[in-house]
């Protein structure tokens, strides 16, 4: 509770200067807080009075092989997600995203937050939050992405989509002409010990998600600071830190406190018709000494992708259509304490978008993974997917 009080104090302290510059913010040009984020989606209709409803749908077909053996091949009704957003008043808005994944096998409230906007520089947000740990976790809608699969560093290390119950503040400050700095900082429930105890494959941070009822009454803190001097460039740094295990019970110390700390640097830039995005993450996990060697205490990874659009209106009947080509490099090391347990892959993609909101994606990926013995195994795959906002 002492930590929570500290976080709230920090939040309130930040609020004072934020209100002072509120007047300046009203003059800023319209621009989403996070490009492709929860308030930058193409909603279609107002079905429920002041509530806007939308969503996206994603379908995959894949053929993948590891050393010649078929693996993870077939069709997937990957996601059907529904969004709502409501302007309750000039100061209060509510947004939510409900995710139906893998044909409905997994149903998750991915995001459900109340924003109390005091000023552009200072908004209080509470609810089920998308954790600001890297830009990709904040803007990962499939119709937005140019590749069928999400980056490995996001899925394997950061656990995108990572959402947690919590409360905190966000805002933006103008910098120079058209530039800005945005921030988000939240106190959240953090991860639970499933990242070790439910994981058969060594440390797997995504298995510690879903700590809906805080397992250890010890909040974690997560935040992101992003600097964008212009529309064409943004550099972000973010971090997540907190205890993941139950270390106290009935007022007794029942275990050592073990923390998980993740740091991420993300970059987004546009230059000469090319779009460049990337993210690098490093995770440090306090692993019980009795499990070292087979459970990693350090994981790291990155992705870099370069994209270019072309072929505007090549399909004469679809004047808004265009194509994109891209290449992405993924590197993840699931156990940086020792050799092995890592993956490197390159994905080539070509997409056709009849409109900006709908993507037909064709990808070819090729890479090498190393097992816990550090033996290599080649993998490759052809992926086809359709994703569209609605």
């Amino acid at each position: 509770m002492k930590r929570l009080a500290t976080y709230l104090f920090v939040s309130i302290a930040l609020g004072a200067p934020a209100i002072a510059v509120a007047q300046v913010q009203d003059t800023l040009p319209a621009r989403p807080f996070v490009r492709g984020g929860v308030y930058d989606r193409p909603y279609l209709t107002r079905l429920l009075g002041r509530t806007v409803v939308g969503g996206y749908l994603e379908f995959h077909a894949r053929l993948q092989r590891v050393d010649g053996a078929n693996e993870d091949s077939g069709f997937e009704a990957k996601r059907w997600n529904i969004f709502t957003a409501t302007e309750v008043s000039d100061f209060v808005r509510v947004s939510a995203e409900l995710e139906f994944e893998e044909g409905g096998e997994e149903v998750t409230l991915e995001f459900a937050a109340i924003d109390f906007r005091i000023a552009p520089t200072f908004t209080i947000r509470g609810g089920m939050l998308l954790s600001p740990i890297g830009r990709f976790n904040l803007a990962h809608d499939s119709p937005l992405n140019e590749f069928t699969d999400r980056p490995l560093v996001s899925t394997e290390i950061l656990g995108t989509a990572l959402s947690e119950p919590g409360i905190g503040v966000l805002g933006l400050f103008p910098v120079g002409s058209g530039g800005r700095i945005t921030y988000q900082v939240y106190a959240v429930n953090g991860f639970h010990a499933g990242l070790i105890e439910d994981s058969p494959d060594g440390t797997r941070i995504p298995l510690g998600r879903g700590n809906v009822e805080d397992n250890n009454a010890s909040p974690a803190i997560v935040g992101r600071l992003a600097w964008s001097p212009s529309l064409n460039f943004e550099l972000g740094i973010s971090a997540h830190h907190g205890a993941y295990n139950v270390f106290e019970g009935d007022g007794l110390r029942v275990d050592e406190r073990r923390d998980l700390t993740i740091g991420v640097v993300d970059l987004e830039a546009a230059l000469a018709g090319f779009r460049l995005t990337g993210e690098a993450a490093l995770a440090n996990i306090d692993v019980p000494a009795t499990l070292r060697d087979i459970f990693a205490s350090k994981q790291q990874g990155l992705y870099v992708e370069v994209l270019r659009d072309f072929g505007q209106a090549w399909v004469a009947t679809l004047p808004a259509s265009f194509f994109s080509v891209g290449v992405r490099l993924d590197i993840v090391d699931m156990n940086a304490d020792r050799p092995g347990d890592n993956t490197r892959q390159v994905t080539l993609g070509i997409n056709f978008r009849p409109t900006e909101d709908t993507a037909f994606k064709l990808d070819y990926l090729r890479g090498t993974g190393r097992d816990v013995f550090n033996n290599p195994a080649d993998h490759a795959g052809i992926l086809f997917s359709i994703a569209t906002y609605f």
């Binding site: 092989r65 070790i196 439910d198 058969p200 295990n245 009795t290 060697d293 087979i294 013995f373 033996n375």
Partner: protein, 403 residues
């Protein structure tokens, strides 16, 4: 319109062409280069069982699924790389004090890892230590199907023929849970064939014990959790999974899988290898590393009446002081080891990231080193190897390397 039509035709054509291409989608290695290929001639039903067992062999357990409370590794496949031998990092430590297996001190095997809330075992002072590298598991069904009489026929416990080699079988009592109709089961002493000192007679017992001792996974066959006597009883409660943690069918699936694993194929004969093969016999290697057996009947038809070119007599031999671990296993003494099969050496490095670890504890990293470590009954053959010309020595090594 014409342009969109072209795309509509081209994309499916490219897709079909690409999916048919091993070059783009990775191609499988030859079965003969693998440790985890099925023996030829299995029925579709047996192959289905093989695939089920393969999943079990590769399954890693989490603490929530029953791993521990004390354990060494989280999966069968975490010890046996590609179903072959392991690395020294995966070696198991067994302890004893004379003929006492030191159960009260954490024996017979030290479990050096523990789930949260439990305490791992440490090697206590004053005990004999035997480090055991995980052996390959392929070809075990063929070994199981060799008739007892064929193996015993090579025994010469008292060296009646005076050749200095006195191999003897390890007669062991199978565990109570091994049914009489299971290979290696039955009342009374059975011929030990498996593990480093041939102290286990049945695959069912070997695999049930590996689940129990190596992974801390209880089964219908061994349903009581392994405890750490060094830590007191309370830490056993840390394991949240109810016992037994896996059922008999899961164990039997892995038994079937291991039983049906084929040994990799040897390399082609070359003049150098043929010369090495002659020397292998001439200097006495073959006295223990018996080239081949013939299997008898088997419940798996593809295992019956097959040549088994394993280069082992499956008997115990005194290997001298340097390799002695002073730890008895069944009837085997602290100086005796089962002759290790040489099959699979040709591709062993490919499953150890280019490395090679030989002998019971992996202390040798080349075949030459391994030969030089031979003592006891094998000292004469070792000395003969060392006396060979450089060309002949290389020919013999190349022959062994190609098996």
């Amino acid at each position: 319109m014409e342009r969109s039509y072209r795309w509509g035709v081209c994309i499916p054509v490219v897709l079909v062409a690409v999916t048919a291409c091993d070059f783009l989608l990775t191609g499988p290695p030859d079965d003969g280069d693998l440790f985890d290929a099925p023996i030829p001639g299995l029925t579709t039903g047996e192959l289905a069982a093989f695939v089920r067992g393969d999943e079990g062999f590769g399954r890693r357990f989490s603490p929530a699924e029953g791993l521990g409370p004390i354990f060494n590794q989280a999966a069968c496949a975490d010890c046996h790389s590609g179903d072959g031998r392991g690395r020294p990092e995966q070696a198991l430590t067994r302890i004893s004090i004379g003929s006492d297996l030191a159960l009260a001190l954490g024996g017979p095997q030290i479990q050096d890892k523990a789930i949260p809330g439990a305490q791992p075992e440490v090697v206590p002072d004053g005990v004999d230590i035997s480090v055991r590298l995980p052996p390959p598991v392929f070809g075990t069904g063929l070994i199981e199907a060799i008739p007892v009489a064929s193996i015993v026929a090579n025994a010469d416990e008292f060296d009646a023929d005076g050749d200095g080699i006195s191999g003897r079988p390890n007669w062991v009592l199978p565990a109570d849970f091994v049914p009489a109709d299971e290979p290696g089961g039955g009342t009374g002493l059975q011929l030990g064939r498996f593990s480093r000192k041939a102290q286990v007679s049945s695959l069912l017992e070997q695999i049930s014990a590996a689940y129990h001792q190596d992974m801390g996974i209880t089964s219908d066959f061994l349903p009581v959790e392994n405890r750490n006597p060094q830590a007191g009883g309370a830490t056993a409660a840390a394991d949240p999974a109810p016992d037994p943690e896996i059922d008999a069918a899961t164990v039997r699936a892995v038994v079937d899988y291991v039983r049906m694993l084929a040994p990799p194929a040897p390399g082609d004969d070359t003049p150098q290898r043929l010369r090495g093969s002659e020397l292998f016999t001439q200097i006495g290697c073959e006295s223990c590393h018996v080239r081949e057996f013939q299997t008898g009947p088997s419940s798996v038809a593809a295992l019956a009446n097959q040549r088994v070119v394993l280069y082992s007599d499956l008997l115990l031999h005194d290997m001298g002081d340097e390799l002695a671990d002073n730890r008895p296993d069944g009837d085997a003494t602290g100086r005796e080891w089962k002759t290790l099969p040489l099959w699979g050496l040709r591709v062993a490095r490919e499953f150890l990231n280019g490395d090679l670890f030989l002998m019971h504890d992996g202390r040798a990293t080349t075949i030459s080193q391994a030969i030089e470590l031979h003592g006891g009954e094998a000292a004469t053959a070792r000395n003969a190897f060392l006396a060979l010309s450089a060309d002949d020595r290389e020919a013999l090594l190349e022959f062994v390397r190609s098996r």
